[in-house]
């Protein structure tokens, strides 16, 4: 990547430039809406109303947000180690298996609060295991983690279809899905909490795994920025040569970071499997693993940024569903387009606007700064 033309203040680097990138992504999305002959403003209005305008909308927004926090964190943790985990989708899928196995075993015997911790372990372990294999292959055998995680997404998909169709679906069922869990395998919903604020969440499936997601954010923050292992992960991601100099094992860092990344992706499954459907369905991940990439890029791999970006995408998903309802020409695929544009502008083209911003910045600020931004002059 090209070196920055000039040093810019911190708030420009971590605030303004990412914001401009995302803004451009949305602007282009607006053009797409215009192109198909609808009014972007009207679309935004419906979208916002659908996402935040009423209790149930908010409930759904929070439900999707929960998914994206998990998958966004998963991608972010790997980013910190300099790894690109495209396998969140498959890891979440496998995580669903772990969660469902725990629920199927326990739902009829114990209350949810006993099942929940075990389901968390199941989801995290299965997801982590699915990420660990590509990590090990990269660390020990030198295979490219991007390619292997892509392949593992497909393998996960085949594996899960096979399990659901041939082994997990109850006899006589026409759907490839497990039986519906009993109360011991269902997470409490946030409805009562909404009630405290006088809002009605309706049938929205937001549930307490949202708190698990927020807790995961805190844990990831503490882990990455406050522990020795987190320190080693960041050092390796930012400067692998310096990490080797410092005696940090890159093998260990790769394995640990991917293990955690997979565990986080796996935990995403708790929300739809135990929280919403109370059963394990085919394809329940619905691309959330990929949304995680956009969320992590947009949130700059920081838990706080991930929460904000996840909420934005949660709004897009819920609002987008309403939009598809009210403006049938704008199908829900619009969200995928926005997601793509965010990844493109905030990821692949992240430096495109920097020179321009640096120049504009130089013009607007004091002469002293101007010199700095124009590149040091010859003495």
């Amino acid at each position: 990547m090209s070196a920055p033309a000039a040093k810019l203040p911190l708030w420009v680097e971590v605030g303004l430039i990412p914001l401009v990138n995302v803004a451009v992504a949305f602007l282009v999305a607006g053009l797409v809406v215009l192109f198909i002959g609808e009014s972007p403003l009207q679309a935004v209005r419906i979208l916002l109303w659908g996402a935040l305008g009423f209790g149930e909308g908010i409930g759904f927004t929070l439900f999707y947000t929960t998914n994206f926090i998990f998958t966004g964190l998963a991608v972010a943790v790997a980013f910190h180690a300099g790894l690109f985990n495209i396998g969140g989708e498959g890891q979440a899928y496998l995580g669903g298996l772990g969660a469902a196995l725990a629920a199927l075993a326990l739902d009829r015997v114990v209350p949810w609060y006993v099942t929940f911790p075990l389901a968390i372990c199941g989801a995290a372990l299965f997801g982590a295991a699915w990420a660990f294999i590509p990590a090990w292959l990269q660390a020990r055998r030198g295979s490219h983690i991007v390619i292997t995680t892509i392949m593992f997404n497909f393998i996960a998909s085949s594996l899960m279809v096979w399990l659901l169709v041939d082994h997990l679906s109850p006899a006589g069922s026409m759907q490839p899905e497990t039986r519906t869990f009993a109360a011991g395998g269902a997470l409490p919903e946030l409805g009562p909490l909404f009630g405290l604020f006088g809002a009605d969440m309706g049938a929205a499936p937001a549930n307490i795994s949202l708190f698990l997601a927020l807790f995961a954010c805190l844990a990831v923050y503490l882990f990455i920025w406050r522990t020795r292992l987190g320190y080693e992960i960041r050092a390796t991601g930012l400067n692998p040569t310096a990490a080797v100099y410092a005696g940090i094992s890159t093998v260990k860092v790769t394995l640990v970071a991917m293990f955690l990344s997979g565990a986080l992706a796996g935990m995403m499954a708790l929300n739809p499997v135990l929280g919403e459907q109370q059963r394990l369905q085919i394809d329940f991940v619905q691309g959330a693993g990929f949304v995680g990439i956009a969320v992590a890029l947009m949130g700059r791999a920081h838990p706080l940024g991930v929460v904000l970006a996840a909420f934005l995408f949660g709004m897009l998903y819920q609002g987008g569903a309403e939009l598809a309802f009210d403006m049938p020409t704008i199908s829900r695929d619009m969200i995928v387009v926005i997601q793509a544009l965010v990844i493109l502008f905030a990821g692949a083209l992240e430096h495109m606007f920097r020179p321009g911003i640096a120049r504009a910045f130089a013009l607007m600020s004091s002469p002293q700064r101007r010199r700095l931004a124009a590149g040091e002059e010859a003495p």
């Binding site: 522990t227 020795r228 410092a246 010859a378």
Partner: protein, 540 residues
Amino acid sequence: MNDREPAAAATEPAGPPAIELIGIDKSFGAVRANRDIHLKVAEATIHGIVGENGAGKSTLMSILYGFYQADRGEIVVRGRKVAIASPDDAIAAGIGMVHQHFMLVDNFTVLENVILGAEGGALLREGVAMARAELTRLEREYELQVDPDAPVGELPVGLQQRVEILKALYRGADTLILDEPTGVLTPSEADHLFRILRQLKEQGKTVILITHKLREIMAVTDRVSVMRRGEIVGTLKTAETGPEELAELMVGRRVLLRVEKAEAAPGAPLLRVENLTLVDARGVKRLDDVSLTVRAGEIVGIAGVSGNGQSELLEVIAGIRPATSGAVFLADGSDLARSADPARRRQGGLAHVPEDRRRMGLVMAFEENESAILGYHDDPLYRSGAFLSREKVRADARDKIRRYDIRPPDCRLLTENFSGGNQQKIVLAREMERGPDVLLVGQPTRGVDIGAIEFIHRQLVAMRDAGKAILLVSVELDEIRALSDRILVMFAGRIVGERGPDAGEGELGLMMAGIEQAGAADGRSGPVVPGLALKGVPTR
């Protein structure tokens, strides 16, 4: 510059020079890599260019080859002014270049490499046939034997270099630039190269040869230009000069800065290195049977032109890369050479100030306080429970900032926002403050201003006086001389000699250039320290 040696005007040969550079200027940001360069290279001669690391030699040649654009100045080839905007133009003007790092495609055959960019048509068939014939001719004419169908990656370095030369000749180069061509060659390969160069000269080709090795200059060149700090400080006829004069021109007269230090009182050996050998991935010996001992209370300096194995020596001792054979012992007597585990060595009391702080010593995107514990992050000192205690890390950083006068005194600033000198102080504070028994120091003052140099030197001497063993690597000969109690000279991966601290600059310079047993012709004595602008470039 007012202390420049008057450039000895080389006598004009008949006819226009093969290459003439007029008033070339080139800056990289604040660094003026070339300033007002005037250079004439006569036709059918071998013209040497010497100068210290970072003097601007490669930059000048890259401008001539169109890889960089000069800020100012003209290039005249055979009396005709030419605009060289890209390597394409240079090739058209009959200029070829053999780069310091070969520009070869490893999994291509020799033939494919030679014709790349000069295929002679959209289809390869005719071009290949032509090239094969042409290679046979060149081979005969210049002793450039090499199997045209061998994959380049499998050839030894010497042969790869021949391919580079063949590439240039195949494109019809009349002038051939070689940038430090012998750095990677064995002596016999180098001798063969020089035979080829002489052959080229006899056939009327012009050769520009950049090297650090004065022996080579004396052996093959007709004329030699000396560069210092971006300028040409002299162009001489080789026959009328000698290594001593060249060495002096290269180094120039500088600000003298005396390092106050008492006589060393060496104690027990704390670091022992025995028969260390390192063969790199290409099969080149980077370290060749190196043995040395550093005792408590002494500074051992390693002098040498960069690229002669000093960096590798430090990295092997520090545990960053494993040795091919040999042993490294710390005071506790354990042999560490085969395993690469820097953390264990740190625990054993070995600290390491790496040569390249940006690439290796610091994490530029970390806050200062985070960079300041790199490698020591496992120390219980910084823990509180399972966590790395921010308070303790920052308190420690603030303490070091105060004692090393790191500016600005803000441990939350990102490492990349500190100036070069202050970045270096961050590394030094980290590595020295913990009282290691053995300290490895690479280029401690590279890119650092005079004030900081003085400070750093005082710290190193203080450590020595506290009974630590210090192994110092620097391309600044004066720094080595100012600080070391013993000086080892490295050349081509071997230690070629040991001298005391009062060894003459010229003598050391000759040893560094691969000329052993030179007569001691020393103008000055006493330790000197280089000035501000003498910044080296990492040669990697």
